[in-house]
Amino acid sequence: MSAEHKKPRYMLVWGGLAVLTAIEVGTAFMVRSALSGFGLSEQTMTMLIVLILIGLALWKALLVALYFMHLKWETRALKWLAAAPLLPATVMVVVVLMEYV
């Protein structure tokens, strides 16, 4: 059942997750003042911060899925199975958000 592969560097992943979490908290609270010098509008800054935060969160989630949940070494079929619900989920949220656009 275990594929032939190097034992994943779990502690390295853990370190990565810790660092990313710290960056996230920093971004949420401290980046705003750092960015204010660039003369961006309130709205643009917020959007930028939100995008960065979501990106960081997705990166962390991917690390957990690929390394802790072992997906990196699983078959393509299982990767698809794991990713499959993301499509209807995205469709639902995006389509309903269009009600407000």
Binding site: K7, V25, F68, L78, A84
Partner: protein, 198 residues
């Protein structure tokens, strides 16, 4: 038995190449993604429609404590992965110790959340506190419920481990509870960001 041999070999030939329990857990997790989509998606939609009146991050909720709690949950995921790695090498002691560590950290996570809830309610922030309260308690509450179920299942798995049920050749139960645990951690990673930081 010939039938067992024939059946045991068969899953290797499918395109998924995983046993029943592991496949079943992944299938279950796919449905859990949709469940949390219902809750989190509703939050995104409701907030987008009411963005002007939404409190800023840290205004109502305690971000530092929850950031620490997030780190704790991530550590418990590492402990889980170490437990799995232990039994992959046949290390029974490592399995038991790391499972125990996971349980302790997981239970602490729930404890801290429960403490956070009591503090919030004490300050008048309840599920009836408008959309912010509704979405906050629904999402974090159901996540906490899933963590609690995970802790209970893990205690049961630890019980089996203590009785020597798992071996290097057969430890599907450990792998499967691990998958669930990492999933619960993954959902929290998303939740922490969008509920507490955005």
């Amino acid at each position: 038995m010939a039938t067992h041999g024939a059946q045991a070999a068969r899953f290797e030939q499918t395109s998924f190449a995983v046993g029943d329990k592991k496949l079943g857990m992944w299938v279950f997790l796919a449905s859990e993604v949709m469940f949390f989509t219902g809750l989190i998606g509703s939050y995104i939609i409701l907030r987008w429609g009411a963005s002007s009146s939404w409190p800023a991050p840290g205004e109502v909720l305690n971000v530092p404590i929850t950031a620490g709690n997030t780190f704790l949950l991530i550590c418990s995921s590492v402990a889980m992965v170490k437990a799995f790695a232990s039994i992959e090498e046949g290390n029974q002691k490592g399995l038991k110790l790391w499972l125990l560590a996971t349980i302790v950290m997981g239970a602490s996570f729930v404890g801290v959340q429960a403490y956070e809830y009591t503090e919030l309610v004490h300050h008048g922030f309840t599920p009836a506190s408008g959309l912010y309260g509704s979405t906050f308690y629904a999402m974090t509450g159901f996540h906490g419920f899933h963590v609690t179920m995970g802790v209970l299942c893990m205690i049961w798995v630890l019980g089996k481990a203590l009785r020597g049920h798992y071996t290097q050749e057969n430890h599907q139960g450990v792998e499967v509870i691990g998958l669930y645990w990492h999933f619960v951690d993954l959902v929290w990673i998303i939740l922490f960001t969008i509920v507490y930081l955005i």
